[in-house]
């Protein structure tokens, strides 16, 4: 049960004190503030304070045409922007029943999976940074850089891509890109053992992440935890498998899951997921057909009245865009159900009774993007 946090500024006579973790703290990965009530190094209660980066994305989307809102959607999760674009265009395509050419589907999957690896790599580095190791961060960046170069090659942008369009893509990909993707997949497969040598096998890392921040399966459902955090707790729930979208049912991949539910399990899930993403990319490159990259769609998008829920598996979990259309050129109601928001809501529960150092390890292992939480 989530009781309201019971800290108070006055209760310092028994040796407890309040600690403001953030909004400017390297461990919170952005403008998140967590008010901690501490007893020495132990956390008695944690209360995340959100909204420092709140931009009212839902209202913005309601005041814009479907196409205009597209660039804004990427801004929520700047590390997994492809998945967000995909969710937005797929939601509109579902509403309007547009068909997407096969070539575009393949490129979309490829781009999203590349983006997923990039996001996981950044998480990998940032998590180790939370644990006090600096080198993994830049080692991950060295490989992530190659992915960003690849995505920049096709989209022209490095983080907020705005590459998908209703009915296809903004621009086609060429053979140079496909060759480079193939090279990257081979090269990255060879470099993955280094990641395991440096961190996965490391005894200090094991001590820091094993049995820390255990999310129990029933708690996960209560808080709506999704994504790798959930799969670390034993559920193999992945939107790509459960409700295949954008042609994911055409590719073979496994959904890695671990039983323990601790930080190490979440770590292992993400590491395994990167390998699965590589497999998906490989298949997409091998089977990409020729043909148009964009279907002919009306210039002005005016979907029929109705409602749609589009679920997408972003690197952080399940994103649902719930959209109500009233038949005009602007959406009537848009709700972004973002994964980080739900994943972060369990943090207060996990942090209770932990050491400060562990709380930061837990926070890091949840892999949230604060602009996504705040929207």
């Amino acid at each position: 049960m989530s009781a309201p946090p019971t800290y108070s500024l006055e209760s310092t006579d028994n040796g407890n004190f309040l600690l403001n973790l953030g909004p400017q703290h390297p461990g919170t990965h952005g403008v998140l503030r967590v008010v901690l009530q501490m007893d020495g190094e132990y956390i008695l209660a944690a209360d995340p304070v959100l909204g420092y980066g709140h931009r009212m994305q839902e209202k913005i989307a309601e005041n814009m045409t479907y196409l205009q809102a597209l660039p804004y959607v990427c801004r929520m999760d700047y590390l997994g922007a492809m998945s967000y674009s995909l969710a937005w265009v797929c939601a509109v395509e579902k509403l309007c029943s547009f068909e997407v050419p096969e070539r575009a589907v393949h490129v979309r999957v490829m781009a999203c999976e590349l983006n997923r690896i990039a996001s996981h790599l950044l998480w990998w580095g940032a998590y180790l940074l939370d644990l006090g190791a600096f080198t993994p961060f830049l080692q991950a960046f060295a490989d992530r850089e190659q992915i960003l170069d690849l995505l920049e090659y096709i989209t022209g942008s490095r983080l907020t891509y705005c590459y998908f369009r209703f009915g296809g893509l903004a621009a086609d990909v060429d053979d140079v890109f496909l060759r480079r993707v193939e090279d990257f997949v081979t090269g990255f497969r060879q470099r993955l053992p280094r990641y395991h040598d440096l961190v996965t096998g490391n005894v200090i890392f094991h001590h820091r992440s094993k049995d820390v921040g255990v999310i129990l399966p029933f708690e996960a459902a209560g808080y709506g935890v999704t994504g790798p955090c959930l799969r670390g707790s034993g559920f193999a729930y992945d939107v790509r498998k459960c409700e295949p979208y954008s042609g994911y049912d055409r590719f073979e991949f496994a959904v890695p899951a671990e039983q323990e539910g601790d930080c190490l399990a979440r770590y292992n899930v993400r590491m395994a997921e990167m390998e699965q993403s590589l497999a998906i990319i490989e298949q997409a490159v091998a089977t990409i057909p020729d043909g148009p990259y964009r279907a002919r769609v009306p210039r002005v998008i005016r979907p029929p009245a109705g409602e749609v829920a589009m679920a997408v598996e972003t690197p952080r979990g399940e994103l649902v865009i719930f959209m109500v259309s009233d038949g005009s050129t602007r959406p009537c109601r848009v709700k972004f159900r973002v994964p980080s928001f739900a994943n972060l809501s369990i943090f207060a529960r996990l942090a209770r009774g932990q050491l400060l150092a562990d709380a930061l390890a837990i926070l890091g292992s949840l892999d949230m993007v604060i602009p996504e939480v705040d929207r």
Binding site: F17, L19, H25, P26, G27, M38, G40, E41, L128, L129, D130, L131, G132, A133, F134, T135, F137, L138, Q139, A142, L198, V199, N202, I204, F205, H207, R208, L355, L356, A357, D358, L360
Partner: protein
């Protein structure tokens, strides 16, 4: 024994030069090592390969305003960096860096250096308390919590060496290794010693009182300008002393073929410092309770067993 004031001033100047130069080189080296381990170059702009970068940074720090928080305990806040730095000047006195390169041959030199090493923790505690900042206080209390866990194994290491060399004098200990460095007889002890000096110098994976990702900068979170650079100076000087001690206790000090003594000294010393840097840029940080576990349950028993076995072998 009487020493003229002029000699004392000369020694002080010499030691200051070593402390300053060492910090300049080590900060540069640290940034270079970190850079290259991260596929970067590190500083490249000021001087050849950025050699003068530290100097530029130092001048910049000198020009900055030294802020004392309103709520800080002013005397303690001001005292802390000094308490951290001053013992170093004394601890450098009995260190032999060459056959004749030694400020003062002291028959209890080793004890002096080890005892003064404890004062570093006092400096951290004062800074943590005096800053009146919760992060700083947590950093200071962590430093105190860890001190026993590493000092006892460290002393056991040193005791074993004293037993083997039969002297407290650093010079005599180095000379006793003429025929074979102690690292050959005591490889395990060397490893224990390296771990304990990593702890003593507050270096990652044991940088609990600083803990960038948890306590932001821990005990020196409130320090700016010169206060901050004094802590910096102290940290690198403690590294120098700890590494010098390691080279004397285990690697025969200045002794080595072909090259002159001081060169050998510095080579060994900076080799060990490189090892510490290598640790820092490779490992994640332990948790404080895991460090205590390491100190009490692993280092201490191993050092004790090693001590007893050595004593037994020596008695035979």
């Amino acid at each position: 024994m009487s020493i003229s004031p002029v000699t004392i001033v000369c020694y002080l100047l010499g030691i200051s030069a070593v402390v300053g130069l060492n910090a300049v080189i080590l900060v540069w080296l640290e940034r270079k090592v970190a850079g290259h381990m991260h596929f970067r170059y590190g500083p490249m702009e000021v001087g050849p390969h950025g050699l003068l970068q530290t100097l530029a940074d130092g001048i910049k720090l000198l020009g900055k305003q030294f802020l004392v928080p309103d709520a800080a305990d002013r005397p303690l806040f001001l005292l802390a960096p000094v308490v951290s730095l001053v013992p170093i000047f004394v601890a450098m006195v009995p260190l032999p860096l060459g056959e004749t390169l030694q400020a003062w041959e002291l028959n209890i030199g080793l004890l002096l250096v080890v005892a003064l090493g404890l004062l570093n923790t006092l400096g951290i505690l004062l800074a943590g308390w005096g800053s009146n900042n919760k992060y700083a206080l947590l950093g200071g209390s962590r430093a105190v919590a860890q001190i026993l866990a590493y000092k006892i194994p460290l002393l056991l290491c040193i005791l074993t060496i004293i037993m083997m060399a039969g002297s407290y004098s650093l010079r005599q200990i180095a000379l006793a290794q003429k025929d074979g460095w102690y690292i050959l007889y005591q490889p395990l002890l060397f490893i224990i010693y390296i771990v304990t000096i990593t702890l003593e110098t507050n270096r990652s994976p044991f940088d609990f009182s600083e803990a960038e990702s948890e306590l932001v900068a821990g005990f020196h979170i409130e320090y700016s300008a010169m206060g901050f650079s004094l802590f910096f100076l102290a940290e690198y000087s403690y590294m120098f002393i700890a590494a010098a001690l390691a080279s004397i206790l285990f690697l025969g000090g200045w002794q080595g073929p072909f090259l002159p003594g001081p060169v050998w000294s510095l080579l060994k010393l900076y080799g060990i410092i490189f090892l510490l840097m290598w640790f820092r840029w490779t490992f994640p940080r332990l948790r404080i309770d895991q460090m205590l576990h390491l100190g009490w349950k692993i280092l201490l028993p191993l050092a004790l067993v090693n001590f007893l076995v050595t004593a037994g072998v020596l008695a035979l």
